[in-house]
Amino acid sequence: MPPRETWLVLGGGSSIGRAFARQAAAAGQGVLLAGREAAELERSAADLRLRHGVPASAMLFDALDLAGHAAFVRAAAALAEGRLHVLLAFGTMPSQAACEARPELARAMVETNLTGAAAVLTALAPLLRGQGGGTVVALGSVAGERGRPRNHLYGATKAALHTFLQGYAARHARHRVRVLTLLAGPVDTALTWPLPRLPFMASPQGFAAAAWRRAQRGSGQAHLPGIWAPVMAVIRALPNRIFNRLDL
């Protein structure tokens, strides 16, 4: 077995983060679950230790607490065994209608999905470079590829995140920081539970297993599940006069 490394899961309480953490632990990697609800994260960490016999612990992390990011990164560095890798899996998705009725919801979403994400990754960069490189896997979304009437505010935060990650990847590439942006289709999580069933819905376990495999293979952008690559190619190519008439 290769030497143990550690995955820092930002949004460690999310459905996708929990499932990805199980993949990492099953592969013998240590896990740090970072989020806002300590007791819950500790239960998940206990599960990983028990099922897979790997070190796992919970860390308090709030993406909106920008001033706290530096201390958070120091704490993560102290807890990690071996090199640190990062899964960015936090985010909020209030409905478009709610965001329009209460613009402060939209602002909080931007501050979480974009500002918070960019800030914590920026704070992590010196650590990743200093240890001789590492992997960052980030949850982007197909919603960021073309703005749809139903959720273009959320989509905008993800599009901005994609762009940020492109530059971040380019900037840190020669320090062997690899960045994989997952252009995720719908996953059956707490986030999507109240929505009507979406096409090609993936289970968190299936999604996480595919994400784990993809992360071993390299960086760049990847649609997940893979079916979204051709589907989004079509959707991106639709002329406006057709796209505008679709109820998406």
């Binding site: 929990r18 998940s44 028990l50 909106l64 920008l66 909080a108």
Partner: protein, 462 residues
Amino acid sequence: MLVPLALRLVPPALPTPGEAAPAWRKLSLQGWGRLGRAPCQAARPERLRDLRAVVLADVGRNLVPHGAGRSYGDAALNGGGAAVLTTRLDRMLGFDATTGVLVAEPGVSFADIIRTFLPRGWLPPTPPGTAFATLGGAVAHDVHGKNQHLAGCFGHHVEWLDLMLADGSTRRLSPSEDAAAFHATLGGLGLTGVVTALALRLLPVPSNALLVRRQRIAGLDAFLEAFGAARQASWAVGWIDALAGGAALGRGILEVAEPAPQHLPPPPEAQRNLPFDAPGCLLNRFSVRAFNAAYWRRVPAAGDAQPMHYGRFLFPLDGIGQWNRLYGRRGFHQFQCVLPEAEAPRGLRLLLEAVGQAGAASFLAVLKWMGRDGAGLLSFARPGFTLALDIPARAGAGALLRRLERLTLDHGGRVYLAKDSTLSPAGMAAMYPRLAEFQAIRARLDPGGRFSSDMSRRLGLG
């Protein structure tokens, strides 16, 4: 740029973690027998705080917990009400390798435990016939396994459990902490509250395999005798060809098994799904008869013995996902009863004859000897013989099931609610003598009647 943003943090009106209102979705739930759909509002909390919000929510006139949906009838359904799906509460929280006690959340399945602990020499204590069942479901039906005659039921191996009550509070229950509520919750059909965690004593085993001996049995009396001779066997189960009549009535195969000292390579976990509903005519008296006869002949006349992975012996049907679609779109009933030992020879004969006369094509029926009473007030298990068989939902099924209920009652037996979809309120009251006691405890724990299900209302329990 970033710092000024930080100063304008979230306005107080925004939901903070955990305070968000629980998310509900319209869902049509079905029992494993697929007899009908129960449309309801469903929530699927992934953390305790969300579960609490669901229990306290003013959604649906009442609420039922729903695990893996492996009960056949309406125990986990609540048409027109609300359901809380517990499968995402699936974390193992602690294990003591000296005592074998595992603490886990209710959505953990038997398959999860076997995957994690069988390689370390531990087995869940009373595995039911499907590993997909969750621990919460196992509590609510006080389930039994092919080792019931020695090991008793699931509840006998539970040290304590945490129950979330209708008022959102959580109580630890055990034989020494509110024992009445503990015994009401074991076998309590999810009607006392939602189990949020439990401590379960696992069973130590020397390897991941069993040595399984199979023998052909010519008929019912021989079967009962053979079980008598197998009382000390660690595991014992019988398969009956429910279509064999006359002198061959009750013929079948007895399987007894002992822990094997040697490990086997674990079987692949991949499952094949039945991708569509079988046409209703696929299972007819002729095809099922041929299948059952072939199954019988597969075992050599002199019997055989082979080492087998626990999974293959305990969960023979789990290899085919959604095998319940084999019975077609209309679904099927499963009937399971237990008869006291003295009544079994006559009672089982009458039950099998009734099924035979009705020509209700049934795959292999299961026969098993039980040695102990269950752990809860409404537990199914009691010493005697238990018989389980499938009855496709077609014309005449209702009349047959009423007849089987009558025969069960006449012979001092009871019907298993994990399988049931047709038992009458009068039958329930006669078969479960501690029902009034159960209802009194339930009224204390849930005075407002928040927890209720299609089954509880059908059985007149409110």
